[in-house]
Structure formats: structure tokens, C-alpha cells
Symmetry: C2
Subunit: 409 residues, 2 copies
């Protein structure tokens, strides 16, 4: 089964938002063995939407359309589907009633325009929404078209509840499974040098890379009759890759650096605390991403000023004066201060210069990280590159990696 | 001038990353009046890349391709361009030398495969890189094709240095200008109800919406001969929208909530400090997004445990026991504790339940925010909805908005 994802919305073409819906849908469809071969994006223009949908219909067995289902006049996706398939739009009275009730429940007056969201092309099967825009799917010859709202959480609820089960049932037995080896501290080309003979010899599973923010993900993807058969194909290739990459590769139980740290902490019943300057809360944000993170994450001290590194994060004034706020010594002291303030077993510290200009006498890109576990302290200095957000992302990776290494020492 | 952006990479189709390159390019091209009308994404498959590029060539005057220029065997974009245009790939010796020198400078051995990055189709004009992958552009009949690396910061440097100037020079006089009115605390349909007669009456400028994370952006876009003429078209429409939306609209000098807060603080020579539980560092991350944010942002206490709310953020134990950690009272005390710890004029506090389950006796989606400025404290409770990240994003917006309101009282 070949699929295409079509995003509708001028806001995408103006660059106001990224097409994260296509990412989410792609990832869910890959997991059930549906090959997403194209993404397309088109603006709120009837003729061009019809044309892009027509082209998708010519090459894909399943189309997932997102966006353009709202109540405002620029929301015209259903009109385009109606024109493409030559099927009338008809008001679904049950959906109209659901929309009315939702507004009543929120104690808000319902603008009359919202009822337009209950108008579906003939033959469409409605998908109920947790928000106000209903979605639907419709069979059109050999192609099934899913039409979902553009608001990510509304779209995601429909994706899981309806799109994935319907497509899994229709796509037959073949399954695609992937396993990733996450590599920290080696670039993409050095990773490739280490395993290129494997990459070139493999057809099933295949091996691909994705680099960014100081890590490389090596993805091993197999196609087989079912999940177990795919995993049998993957296992020996993954083991060989791991043995070549040594401790640059995260342990197999962890699909991310966050997991590598959290699995160990949970197992030991311990927590981590952070004191971060350079990264401005981004280490904390990563540690609190998953539900239940309070099991292993106590908190973070975001100390953006030099004074607060001493007053809040307990860094000795003497260290700040002698080595400056951007130094390995201060990164280690930040880690220790965080552990002390939050009474945590693992402390992580990060300081540096995100750029674009130099700061505190250090060039842009300077990253100093520290980690303390029980009584041991380790620190590291590295040079980040690229824009401000890239330097920060590299620092988050370096800090969590040092935490991982502190836990395993 | 009509443009298409083509992303190449199976990692996009597998949903491993979002196509943020298309967003960045779209936004830069919109600013110089180039109409981006399509985005396409295709995997690392020669036949399909050639087909998607051929389709783009049939409908666009400019194509910007990103990705597939790396050193590994799945990087085949140049081969596809070569085949599409029937032009041979030839090694550019000067580029090969630059690549060798970059590795020498980093004191790393250069894998031989990296020289493949110096092979360009006949007639291509190279664009030098800050990384290792050179880009290029090439005229093909009436269409110009830019080929850029997929790594965002490398791509962005070439976009600014070459793509934007070349396209601005070729696209002639017409300019598109946009102004956004940022609306906080009104939904998309209520915003539309307030201004729908304007939306329906306008053709130039046009008015469009973008909703998410507790805010709606109303974008007014005009096309005209030059920037000044476009702004003359926009001004009266923007003024009318602002007068209807009242204090739900941010002041015109601010294009975001962050700016609304930071402009006032900078003007007064004051800073903000945060104590956040629910949002796990995301308020701090937003406040530290821009270079120079240490001018107005002192720091944040990310207090993920109840004990740390008292010990680190100075919330009185009595409040925690009497009202519970998720309460307006504690949100106000977090704000006050942050201001005290960092000696900041403005304090912001946020607590709540991100979900998916209930916590601390409160349902998922509960958001309590507080702000203290000089001696006044204001607090607010609201109900977020959707997934964990949406609840957090709504809380960030609500907290910064309360900070904005505290500053203006």
C-alpha cells in the first residue's frame, strides 16, 4: 500500500508553521507497514487543492489530508474533495448536533459558521472529534481518502482511533519494523566509515542515518510477514553495528538519551536535578517530556545570570571569579549545586555561549557540561557550531550524555 | 514568481523529522514576494526524485531542493538533478579542495566518500558551505533549481547568502508584506465572529488566521509595488482589527507574547524570573530563545516535586498543605518565590497537571498561573485540553500573558 500525505493551508506555505502533522502520520503509518512515498502541501486555493488531490489519487492507494476543515471561509478542503470526486456536500444532522452540544457544554455561544463543519461529501464516513471539527474518510475507486483537521491534537486522536486501524486492516500482512541505534559523540561520516560495508551489503534490512544535535540515529528497517519475522532479520545486523560502535551507542533498551538516563534512575529509585545556564531550561524540558517524569526528575535551576549561579545554584564565588562562569569547573559546581538543592543522586550542569556573539570572554559555541553522581564529578568542554538553537541542542545532548556516563561509572 | 520546495529524504517520509526546512524557506521567500505554492517531499529513490522534480519543473519558476547531498550512498539528489536535466556530474576540484581543508582544520581524517559532495551537474553554480556539503544552483530553461543540504543550519546559511538575493533580484518589483495581530484568550471562531465582515470584504490586503497553544494570529497580507505601499494598504485594516479585539490583542510593537513582555522589561531596566512545575522549563526556554535575553531574563526554578516548591521556590508549606500544589494560591507563591530568589521585578509561576492522567487531586489539563510585579499578585486558573504538550504550551502562553498583564497594571 502506497500512501501520500497532503497538507492544506496557506500558513504552511507562508512558513508560519512546520508540517508536523505529516511527520506524525508518517511515523504511525510506517509502524503498520504502509509506505508513505510522498508528502505534498498546498494553500487554501480551491483549484490547486483539487489538482494536488487529483495527482495524489493517481499515484497513491491511500491519501491522508490534513487542514482546511475549520469554520472560517478559507477552510475549503471539503469543497475540494466534493469537486474532485463529484459528490455533493450534505449536512450531517447528527454531527451538527454534536457541534451544538460541545459549545453548550463549554458555555460558549456557537457561531453559525461552525455548522459548516458538519457538511460532508456524499458517501463519507464521519470520524468524531475531541475538538469541534469532525473528520471523515471516503472511498473513491481504488483510493481511500482520509480528511482530518489541521489542529495537531485533534488530528492525532483521529489518526490513532480511525486512520491507523482502517489502514492496518486494509494493507494486509507485510509489516515494516525499525530499530534504531543511537550514536552519541561520532559524526555521520565517521559512523558511516565504521559500518559502511554493512550498509552497502544490506537489502533487507536496510540501514539509514539521521544526524543532528550531536547524535546520529542508525535505523535498521526490515520488511517481513509479521513483527517477529522482521525482528529476526534485524537482530544480527543491529548486534554487529553495536559491537563496532562500542560505548558511542546507547544501550539497546534505550531509544533515546532521555531513556538511557531515565531507565537507570528508575531502576535505582533515584532522581536527577539540573542547573543550566546556556540551555535556558531545555534540559529540564527534555527530562519532563514524558508522562510520569516526576519519578526520576526533581527539577532544574535555570541560572541565566552570574549572580544567580552563586545565590541559587550554590556555585562558590571563588570558582566564578577564578575560572569565569563559562568553565568546566563551574559546570561541575552547577551539577553539584543542583544535586544538593534538590537532594538528587545525579546532578547535571551546563554553561556556555549560545551565540551568535562571544560572551563572558568565551567564543560562541563554547559548551561546558558537568555531572556528579554520588560523590564523583566529571566535566567536559566541547565546541558547538551552527546557530544558537543548534548550539543549545548540542549542549542538551552533551549534558545528558555526561549524565549517562556518570551513572554507568 | 511561483516557487516549489522539494524535500528529499526517507527520514521525512518515515516521520523521523519534521520538514522544518520547508518552513524556513517559505518564510524567507514570502518576505521577498515569491509565492511558494507547493511543498513536496520524496524519499531517497532515484526514479521518484526525478519524477517529483519533473513535476515541480512543470509548474514552478523556482525550485528549492533540500537534502540528499551528504556523503553516504543514500544521498542521490545530485544524481537525480543530473538525470532530470541530462547534464553530467563533474568533480569541482576547487570544492574538493575546500572539503579536504575543512577536515584538515578539524584535525579529522576525511573519509574518501566525502569527495562525492564536490560532484556537481554541468552548469551548476556552487554555493559554499559552512559545513561540508556544498550546495549549488542551476538554470534549466525557465526554471531555476537551488539544491541545498538538509542539515538546517547549513541550509539556512546558503538560503540567506545566495537563494534569497538571487530570487529577489529575479522576481521583480512586487512585494508581499504581512503584519500579524496576536490574539490571546479568544478562540479562532470567536476571533472570526468579531472581524468576519472585514475578512469577507478584503481582497488586498487579505486576512487569515492561525490558531494554536492558546493564541490566534490574525495575519494581514498585502501585495504592492514596494514595502511602503504595502504598509499603507495594511495600516487601516490592522487598526480596525485591533480596535475590535481590545486588550486581547498584543500591542503593535510586539509580534509575540515574548516580545510584549521583553520590550516592557528592557524599557524599564527590569528582569523576570520564573518558578514552573507543570511546564518543566518551557517558560524559561521561551524566554531564552533570542540572543541577548539575559538583558531581561534572570532565571527559572523548575520545581517538579512538591518538596522542592517549598525548599527551592520558597512556597510556604502551609499553602501547599491547605490548597495543594496545584492551586492559584501556590501559583502566586511560586511567582513571588521566583522574584525573591532571583531579585527580579516580575515573577511568574505555573503549576498544574499536564496529563494524561489526574495528579495531586486535580484533573489533567488544570493550569494555575500567577504573576507578581512589584508588590501586586494576580493569579488565574484555566482548563487546558488535548495532549500533554498542548496543555504545556497553553500554560506557557497563559503564564506569559499574565506576566504581560501584571506589567501593564
Amino acid at each position: 500500500m502506497r500512501a501520500e500525505i497532503v497538507g492544506v493551508g496557506t500558513e504552511l506555505l507562508l512558513g508560519q508553521i512546520a508540517n508536523t502533522n505529516a511527520q506524525k502520520i508518517s511515523s504511525e503509518l510506517a509502524a503498520i507497514g504502509v509506505d508513505v512515498l510522498w508528502h505534498s502541501v498546498v494553500g487554501d486555493n480551491l483549484e490547486r487543492i483539487v489538482s494536488v488531490l487529483g495527482q495524489a489519487r493517481g499515484r497513491a492507494d491511500a491519501i491522508v489530508v490534513t487542514g482546511g476543515l475549520g469554520p472560517t471561509p478559507d477552510d475549503i478542503t471539503s469543497e475540494a474533495v466534493s469537486r474532485l470526486l463529484d459528490r455533493r456536500l450534505r449536512r450531517d444532522e447528527r454531527l451538527a448536533q454534536v457541534i451544538r452540544q460541545k459549545f453548550a457544554k463549554m458555555k460558549r455561544a456557537m457561531p453559525e459558521a461552525n455548522l459548516k463543519q458538519a457538511d460532508l461529501p456524499d458517501g463519507a464516513v464521519p470520524i468524531e472529534s475531541e475538538g469541534t471539527a469532525p473528520g471523515y474518510y471516503i472511498d473513491a475507486g481504488n483510493t481511500v481518502i482520509f480528511v482530518l483537521p489541521g489542529v495537531p491534537w485533534e488530528m492525532e486522536a483521529m489518526l490513532e482511533k480511525t486512520v491507523v486501524p482502517v489502514l492496518a486492516a486494509r494493507s494486509g500482512a507485510a509489516t515494516t519494523r525499525s530499530r534504531e541505534v543511537v550514536v552519541i559523540g561520532l559524526g555521520e561520516s565517521s559512523t558511516h566509515e565504521a559500518i559502511k560495508d554493512l550498509v552497502e551489503a544490506q537489502t533487507n534490512p536496510t540501514i539509514a542515518y539521521r544526524a543532528g544535535a550531536g547524535r546520529v540515529r542508525v535505523r535498521v528497517t526490515a520488511k517481513a510477514e509479521d513483527r517477529a519475522a522482521a525482528e529476526v532479520l534485524i537482530a544480527p545486523v543491529e548486534a554487529e553495528i553495536r559491537s563496532r560502535l562500542g560505548d558511542h551507542a546507547l544501550s539497546p533498551e534505550a531509544t533515546s538519551l532521555l531513556e538511557a538516563v531515565s531507565i537507570t534512575l528508575r531502576r535505582r529509585g533515584e532522581t536527577v536535578a539540573v542547573a543550566e545556564s546556556l540551555t535556558g531550561g531545555r534540559i529540564a524540558a527534555e527530562l519532563s517530556e514524558q508522562a510520569g517524569s516526576s519519578d526520576f526528575f526533581s527539577g532544574s535551576l535555570v541560572c541565566y545570570t552570574t549572580a544567580s549561579k552563586a545565590a541559587v545554584a550554590l556555585v562558590p564565588e571563588e570558582l566564578l571569579e577564578r575560572f569565569g562562569p563559562v568553565s568546566e569547573e563551574v559546570a561541575g559546581a552547577l551539577a553539584a549545586g543542583a544535586a544538593a538543592r534538590f537532594d538528587a543522586a545525579l546532578g547535571i550542569g551546563a554553561t556556555g555561549v549560545a551565540g551568535p556573539g562571544p560572551h563572558d570572554g568565551q567564543p560562541a559555541g563554547t559548551i561546558c557540561v558537568g555531572a556528579t553522581y554520588r560523590s564523583a564529578v566529571i566535566t567536559r568542554r566541547l565546541s558547538g557550531y551552527g546557530r544558537r538553537d543548534n548550539v543549545m541542542a548540542m549542549a542538551v545532548t552533551a549534558a545528558l550524555d555526561l549524565g549517562r556516563r556518570a551513572l554507568s561509572e
